[in-house]
């Protein structure tokens, strides 16, 4: 027998299984323990305006997913509006439109955003072209004066940006240059736009960024904050708009870049919008599954979480069967336990999941003991094999019914779950046990029965051990590793543990 073939196959299975597993844990951050929860927020933009019966077109600039702030889910809520989403120049745009709305209109955009303190991949690229602002006359002079002064007081890009931002943010009462440039329209967005213009004059490619700084906000209503991005040699550097200090963009949800408004409405008046944020309890697993769908759609398409929920639940149980089977394999081929039927204990263990362990063992023992008694009685009638099996099956089901009713009467609710035992398996167990009983004596029959129960208990313990079940249901690819070990054990030719005792007399003296 060529063992190398087996080793190659096993290595292959292990590397594929572990490879997918590592990709999912390291890249997609699948949680290794079931308790891990993720930091998620629900961001809601509410837009309200009055319509007068004219065609309405409302545009909202919506954020795009990033590695550090993936959007796990988003909803667009509106009544009677048609919705299209477009993406142009790396800007996502949601457009609601309606022919003849009247009265107050409300539109919602809701995004489920996860905060993962991981860095975004550095986007390289060429330096963007500088768009020199077209300023005329007095404005131009004022801008040049502000820029000169800021240059005097700064040493590098960071300090230059800080100087400019702070001068526009807190102008001295006598600062006419600033007053001239801002034209008394002093919104935060305007101030950031001026800073960007001045930076362009100083030959620094810059642009404004508009979004919400999630880290600084608790729940409730969120302020739009306006930041500045400046191209520094090979990448964009980010500065907070108010202070001009370097900003951390990892928890900054970007709605749009450059000029423009968050919301544009044609055909409506009295536009207002609010942004609110709310912390959401999101299991680590569902967050990871959504991330998988976002970043590796191919992997997701072939994963458990792409199935309908009901089917998923079936597989959550089915995926446990290999664990049980593996326990049985160890018990039989490495320890040397005798059980009734190869995988009967696995099915009993599955039933234990519903009945709970102690009640399960008691119910199983009662059922088998009663069934055996009846089986011994039937033996005296000298029935043929198949009719006898059918008779025992009928009796087993009647016994299950009686046990349920009696337990219910006595108020022992766990007795009701007896119906979950696989009755055909129990019937076969009773039949096999009675044959062993007759041929090899009660001792061997009870021994094998107890052996089966112990194996079932161990299989149950393994199948209900949370960390293990979580690993298998989250990473079904680990079954490949289990398969590899199983294949290797298939060529295990060492002694079984119980054989050591059996052949002890042959071992000779210890030296």
């Amino acid at each position: 027998m060529n063992n190398r073939h087996l080793y190659v196959l096993a290595t292959l299975l292990v590397s594929v299984g572990l490879g997918v597993f590592l990709y999912k844990t390291l890249r997609l951050d699948f949680p290794l323990s079931p308790e891990a929860a993720s930091d998620a927020w629900e961001v809601e933009v509410k837009i309200e305006f009055e319509a007068q019966g004219d065609p309405v077109r409302a545009e909202l600039r919506v954020p795009a997913s990033r590695t550090s702030l993936p959007i796990l889910n988003e909803y667009f809520v509106s009544r009677g509006f048609g919705l299209t989403t477009t993406r142009a120049d790396n800007q996502r745009l949601a457009i609601w439109s309606r022919r003849q709305p009247e009265g107050l209109q409300t539109l919602y955009y809701r995004a489920l955003v996860e905060m993962r303190k991981s860095a975004d991949p550095v986007s390289g690229g060429r330096a963007p072209e500088i768009e020199k602002p077209r300023l005329g006359g007095a404005d131009r002079l004022a801008a040049a004066a502000i820029l000169d002064e800021a240059r005097q007081k700064s040493a590098d890009l960071d300090t230059l940006v800080a100087q400019l931002a702070q001068r526009f943010e807190n102008p001295a009462a006598s600062d006419e240059h600033v007053a001239l440039l801002l034209h008394r329209r002093s919104s935060a967005r305007e101030r950031v736009a001026r800073v960007v213009e001045l930076l362009a004059m100083a030959d620094f490619p810059a642009r404004s960024v508009h979004g919400i700084h999630m880290a600084q906000l608790g729940g409730g209503s969120a302020e739009m904050s306006h930041w500045i991005e400046v191209w520094d040699q090979d990448r964009w550097k980010v500065y907070e708009g108010v202070t001009g200090a370097p900003g951390d963009i990892r928890d900054y949800l970007i709605f749009w870049r450059g000029a423009g408004q968050l919301v544009n409405v044609e055909g409506g008046d009295h536009l207002s919008w609010t942004i609110t944020m709310e912390s959401v309890q999101l299991g680590g697993l569902s967050a990871a599954a959504s991330r998988e769908r976002l970043f590796s759609p191919d992997l997701w398409a072939f994963s458990l979480s792409s199935l309908p929920l009901a089917t998923q639940n079936v597989y959550r149980i089915l995926l446990l069967v290999p664990i049980g089977a593996f326990v049985i394999l160890i018990m039989r081929n490495v320890v040397g336990f005798k059980t009734f039927g190869t995988f009967m204990p696995v099915l009993i263990a599955l039933a234990f999941r519903e009945t709970h362990l102690l009640a399960g063992i008691i119910l199983f023992s009662v059922l088998v003991a009663l069934g055996l008694t009846i089986r011994f009685y039937l033996d005296r009638l000298k029935l043929l094999l198949v009719p006898r099996l059918a008779a025992v099956l009928i009796v087993v089901i009647l016994l299950m019914l009686i046990v349920s009713i009696v337990c219910h009467r006595l108020g022992i609710e766990s007795g009701l779950s007896v119906a979950l035992f696989p009755m055909v398996i129990i019937t076969m167990t009773i039949e096999r046990m009675s044959i062993v009983w007759e041929e090899r004596g009660p001792r061997e029959a009870v021994q094998e029965g107890v052996g089966s129960l112990i194996a079932a208990t161990l299989a149950f313990a393994a199948m209900s051990w949370k960390p293990l079940t979580h690993l298998i249901t989250t990473f079904p690819e680990l079954l490949l590793v289990l398969l590899a070990i199983t294949l290797l054990l298939g060529r295990y030719s060492g002694y079984r543990l119980l054989e050591l005792r059996r052949f002890k007399v042959l071992a000779g003296k210890a030296d």
Binding site: L385, I435, G490, G494, V505, A507
Partner: protein
């Protein structure tokens, strides 16, 4: 624990896993199993090859034939009924005589014709066969065993089990029924197993269950040192059974008939490992020796001679 495993390995003890993986799976081709699993086929094969077997009186294959049982059995006062696909001695019914309408079992109890019919019907429906498949019932001559084992047998028929690897007998034991085994010659049912010196055919130590015994628990006669007559003939038959079935690792069960001499009872493609305990000796070392030397052993006589020479117990 590991130390014990290492000592067993040094003693050349063969474990179940190793037997299954390296000997049964490697040397017994699947398609040859039916030859030994169906005792009727084995018997026909042996008769063709001129190996003596207990005489076959008849075969019951379908329920309907049970009605003709009476006429079939009319001329036989004693007989044995066994399932064609039985294993481990299960379902074998030995009738030693009859009084009027009753049949006397080996144990001395009597059963009626009706109970006999039911037993055969159970056999046909597969109660005693591996996997519960439909089966046949063989009715054959009862063996009158050689008086050599008279003193160390309680009812039943003692039989000789010889393990044959690639045509070379490697280990043998005689299985002696006890009261506990209900006259059956199966070790797990309580029969005694006594190792046999391959060189001389003389019995060595004996085990009952996992205990070493020196005398039969029911008859209190010494078991060790009984010499089996025509030992070389038995080894010859065993070696020929390998050629017959082409099974590389096979257990051959023989009985000694008082009149007809050694008869082949059945073959086993998955012989048990208790024979090692009965002989107080590991199998693995002997199997490896055979594996190495098989190239030089061409004829049956070569192989039997090799076994008698190589696996003889040095007289101390």
């Amino acid at each position: 624990m590991l130390g014990l495993a290492r000592r067993l390995r040094t003693a050349g003890v063969l474990g179940i896993n190793q037997r299954n993986a390296e000997f049964i799976a490697a040397w017994n081709p699947r398609h040859r199993y039916p030859l030994v699993d169906d005792k009727l086929l084995t018997k026909q094969l042996a008769v063709q090859a001129g190996i003596a077997v207990p005489e076959l009186y008849g075969v019951i294959e379908i329920e309907h034939q049970i009605r003709e049982l009476g006429t079939l059995l009319a001329q036989h006062g004693e007989f044995v009924i066994k399932p064609a696909h039985g294993s481990g001695g299960v379902g074998i019914l030995v009738i030693t005589g009859r009084i009027r309408k009753l049949f006397r079992k080996a144990s001395g109890d009597f059963i009626t014709q009706e109970e006999l019919d039911h037993h055969i019907s159970n056999t046909l429906s597969g109660l005693f066969s591996l996997g519960g498949a439909q089966d046949k019932a063989l009715i054959e001559a009862r063996v009158h065993f050689d008086p050599i084992f008279e003193s160390v047998t309680y009812q039943g028929v003692p039989d000789v089990r010889i393990i044959v690897f690639r045509g070379v007998p490697v280990m043998a034991m005689v299985r002696l029924p006890t009261r506990a085994s209900d006259g059956k010659a199966n070790l797990h049912q309580g029969a005694i197993g006594a190792g046999i010196d391959l060189g001389t055919g003389r019995t060595l130590t004996a085990v009952c269950g996992n205990d070493v015994v020196s005398e039969h628990p029911d008859t209190h006669q010494p078991i060790t040192g009984v010499e089996i007559p025509n030992w070389q003939t038995l080894l010859n038959i065993a070696a020929r059974c390998h050629d017959l079935t082409q099974l590389g690792y096979v257990g051959v069960d023989l009985v000694l008939d008082r009149v007809r001499g050694p008869l082949m009872l059945e073959l086993n493609a998955r012989p048990g490992l208790n024979i090692q305990i009965a002989n107080r000796c590991g199998l693995l070392t002997r199997l490896q020796v055979v594996d190495k030397e098989i190239g030089q052993l061409h004829t049956i006589e070569d192989r039997v001679g090799f076994a008698m020479r190589e696996f003889a117990v040095a007289s101390a």
